[in-house]
Structure formats: C-alpha cells, structure tokens
C-alpha cells in the first residue's frame, strides 16, 4: 500500500478565487463555515427561478477528469433518463500513482466535492451518494468523513456514505468500483457501469464521477457555464488540475486553463531542475512525449494528441537527462503486470511478458527484440475486459518511439547512462487486497 502523506503534493495556488485550488487551505482543512463564506450557495432544482442542472452542465462543456474525458452533461442526462432509484458514486480511487489531485481536494477542500456530488445527485434524481476513497489515502478519507459529519446537522434528503475500496489500480474502473460497492471483488466486469443501465450499484442506474469533475460541476452551477467557458480553449473549456512531479523544482498539484503551453505548466512547478529528455504525460497509463519538441505544445486533449498522448488523470512527470526511460518503463510495466485483476489471458500472460522483454532491452536492443515487443503490443491491445492492458501498451509504444536512440545504443552494447542511477518514477508496490 502507498503511504498517503508521502505522495500528497502541495498545491500551487496561483488560481482565481473561484478556482478549485483557491479553496485548498495551505495549513489544513477548509471547514463548512469557511467554505460557505467563500462561495455563494449554489442554485438547486427547486430554486426560483428554476434551474435545469443537467442543461447547465451540458452548456459548460465539462469533460470528466478521471481519464477518459467523457462529457459530464451527457452522463448526467443518461442516468437521469433511466428509472430510479439512482446512485451517485464519487470515484476517489485515484489509483494512478503519479496523481495526487483528487486526494488533495478531498483532504483539504472536501466541501467543494460534496457540493458537486449533491448537485449531481439532485441533477439525476439520486437518493444515495457513495464517496469511494482508496483505503490507503488516509488523509482524504479523514477529510471527507469530517465534511460529511459537518453536513449531517442539515436536513438532508440525500444519503451520503463514505466507503474505502481496496488500494488497487483497476479498482477505480467504474464496473470494478460498482462491483466492490455491491459486495464483490474490486475487479472489472467487462460491462461499462459509469452511466448506469443495469451495471450500476444494486443493478440500478448509477453515475460514477471523478472527484475533480464534481468540484468543477459545483463551481459551474454556482458561477455559470459562461464563467467556466471564459477560460481554456473553445473545444476544452475551463481549468484542469495537473500533478507535476519528477525533475522539477517544486512538485505540486496545479490548476491551469486547458491549452496552456507545457513549458509554462512546468514553470508552475518551479521549472525543470536540469536538462529534461522527456515527459510522462497522463500517468502510468499515459505516454512519453519528447523534449524539447513537446514543450511548446498546448496542454489539452487536442494539443497532446499530436504526440500520441492524452491528459489522462492530469499527470506530468519530468524525466531528466541521464535517466533511462527504458528502465523506467520496464518498472512501470512490471507494476501493470502485478496490478492485473487476473481475469483476462492477454493481460495475465501478456503484461508480464512485455514487462520482462522491456527490462531485457536494457542490454539487448536488437531489432528482433524490439519487433517482438511491438508485435506483442499489437496483440494485447483491445483484448482485456477493461482498459488496463491498453494503458500498458500505450506507455510501451511511446517508450519505444521516444527512447529510440537509447534503444539503438543498448543494441550496440553501449552502457546505459542511466545505469546505477536512482529511478525517477515512484513506482508503488502492487496492492494486495480485492475486497
């Protein structure tokens, strides 16, 4: 299990007064009173004049911040259109090891998230909210539990409970999370659950939504879609949280408008501490992008797509010159293999195979070895019951492209410059529990 305190990055607070991080108190925890002094009460469906919450969120163009970026308004509409009872699940698994934004929000600004969860529940007509926080994230759990107690004094029509799913990467996949809430193992079922149908909690329509997404939703309902779309790009409005780490001066969680040049984003974390050779973008299931060519690219889905990358869970890790990107990738692939739910052949057998082959590239970068690795990547892709093996494959392919020069050197027997150096990526031990 990961230690929560060690991975909780400080927040860079250069954000507007309505920004998510403005609510993160530098010292500790924002109480309900402080929260309400800071922000006006958001309208609800029963406010006058009447507000259509789903329409409001749709007009904001808010996309999900858990990784896939699915339009939040469409998810709300889909769940609301199905017969109840309905449930909202706040997905605070944040199994992505290089991400700390969601646990930061829950630990320090939980009322913003609870606002969003309750508004989402009102929007879809849900009676129950389950806040599911990775059980290793002690401070996030404590923050949200205190916040729920603070609100308990108020007459509530919506039941809010906090649950602590096991610390496993795939436990955050929506069907796995729902399966665990229903008493099963936190393993994907192969049927999408995030917009509910029969795959939701108790077989009922269920909205599974990421923590940061709900915090944005609360501010959109308060300050309006026009306020939200005033920042970011036309296609990707608003701000987004990014966890910046690796070889930067001040690793932190920062809030940036979509489209900010990546170099400027690194500046939020004090800039690189030396020469940077590549960035890991999106997370462990993200992609390596080359430096300096990617530095001018806008940080957005569109801007990263030209590098074969995506914002994912909002992660940027700077890899310094001298580190071995192939060795770093091999360690992450080994972690992917150990985090498999063990259900699908291509994942169970394929991931250890690519992890081992990647590790052996450190001394054998022969064209045959590389070709076999690429063939395995092609064979594994799209053949799991969830996106877990695809995440590993995306990372693997990007490593073969971005670290092509190192591959050639290794193939010629030149010693790796990164050999014997401490690793850059903080790869946690795999989880041990499924229930």
């Amino acid at each position: 299990m990961r230690a929560d305190g060690a991975t909780m990055a400080p927040a860079d607070r250069s954000t507007g007064p309505a920004g998510l991080l403005a609510e993160v108190s530098p010292s500790g925890w924002t109480t309900l009173d402080e929260h309400r002094r800071r922000h006006p009460a958001p309208p609800t469906p029963t406010s006058t004049p009447r507000v259509d919450l789903v329409d409001l969120v749709r007009r904001s163009g808010l996309g999900g911040r858990g990784g896939a970026g699915f339009p939040t308004g469409e998810k709300l509409r889909a769940v609301a259109s199905r017969p109840g009872p309905r449930t909202v699940v706040v997905n605070a698994s944040e199994g992505e090891p290089a991400s700390a934004k969601d646990r930061l929000l829950l630990a320090r600004a939980p009322h913003l998230v609870l606002d969003g969860a309750l508004l989402a529940a009102a929007a879809v007509g849900a009676e129950t909210v389950v806040v599911a926080v990775d059980r290793a994230h002690a401070r996030a759990l404590e923050g949200v539990r205190r916040a729920v107690v603070e609100r308990r004094a108020e007459a509530a029509r919506i039941d809010v409970r906090v649950a602590a799913p096991p610390s496993r990467y795939v436990a955050g996949e929506s069907s796995a999370l729902v399966r665990w809430i229903d008493g099963g193992p936190a393993k994907p079922t192969g049927a999408p659950a995030h917009t509910g149908g029969a795959g939701g909690v108790g077989g009922r329509p269920t909205l599974v939504q990421n923590v940061e997404t709900l915090a944005h939703l609360a501010q959109i309902v308060r300050y309006g879609p026009a306020w939200f779309t005033a920042t970011g790009t036309a296609a990707e409005p608003g701000t987004t949280l990014v966890t910046v780490s690796g070889a930067v001066a001040r690793p932190c969680v920062t809030e940036v408008p979509w489209g900010m040049p990546i170099e400027e984003l690194l500046g939020r974390a004090g800039g690189p501490t030396g020469q940077t050779q590549a960035l890991l973008v999106g997370g462990f299931s993200g992609a390596w992008v080359p430096v300096p060519s990617a530095l001018g690219a806008p940080y957005s889905r569109a801007g990263l797509a030209s590098f074969g990358a995506a914002p994912g869970a909002g992660v940027v890790v700077a890899l310094p010159e001298g580190a071995c990107g192939l060795a770093e990738t091999a360690r992450v692939l080994q972690w992917f293999a150990e985090e498999s739910a063990g259900q699908c052949g291509p994942c169970v057998r394929g991931l250890p195979a690519v992890a081992g082959a990647m590790a052996s590239l450190e001394w054998d970068g022969s064209p045959d070895a590389v070709a076999r690795l690429r063939r395995w990547a092609d064979d594994i892709e799209g053949r799991g019951g969830c996106g877990h093996p695809d995440g590993a494959v995306t990372l693997l392919r990007s490593a073969l492209d971005v670290f092509a020069v190192d591959l050639r050197r290794h193939g010629q027997g030149t010693p790796c410059a990164g050999a014997g150096r401490p690793p850059v990526l903080d790869v946690p031990a795999a989880g041990t529990e499924w229930r």
């Binding site: 192969g190 259900q343 699908c344 052949g345 057998r349 195979a353 395995w376």
Partner: protein
C-alpha cells in the same frame, strides 16, 4: 429490400480460458496469440464462414465465444 443479418464474432475476455478450440475450428477467422488466447478478426463474418463460426461458438468449453448480430449503425466500428 430485406438483407440477410450480419454477424461478428466476439470473445468475452474474462470468460475465455484459452482452450483454443475456436482457433482449431475456425482458423480462417481466429488465430492464437503467443500465450494461447484467441485473436478474433473484428470484421463481419463472411456468409460462407457462418456455419463454421456457429460450430466454434457451440464448442467453446468456457462459453466465451459469441456471434453477435450487427446493427446497421454499429457496422462502421
């Protein structure tokens, strides 16, 4: 004009145990990866292979192979 229904073969990856019976019965459409698990072509199964495809489905020991009708909208994928 009524057209014949079209089908695609799908493996349920969680259900599949890698018995590999399908690849033996329908080598034109199913090959095995290096670990013995089936890789099924995503295209619509040609009419001349449909009977063989049904036979492969019926003989999967894990009941993990399915022949799914393709709706006109879904055919692009």
């Amino acid at each position: 004009m009524r057209t014949a229904r079209r089908y695609r073969l799908r493996v349920d990856p969680i259900g599949c145990d890698g018995h590999a019976v399908c690849a033996e019965l329908l080598p034109e459409w199913i090959r095995l990866d290096d670990w013995g698990y089936p890789i099924v072509r995503a295209e619509i199964v040609p009419p001349e292979l449909l009977d063989h495809a049904r036979w492969a489905v019926a003989n999967c020991p894990a009941l993990a192979l399915r022949l799914e009708p393709v709706t006109p909208e879904a055919q692009v994928r």
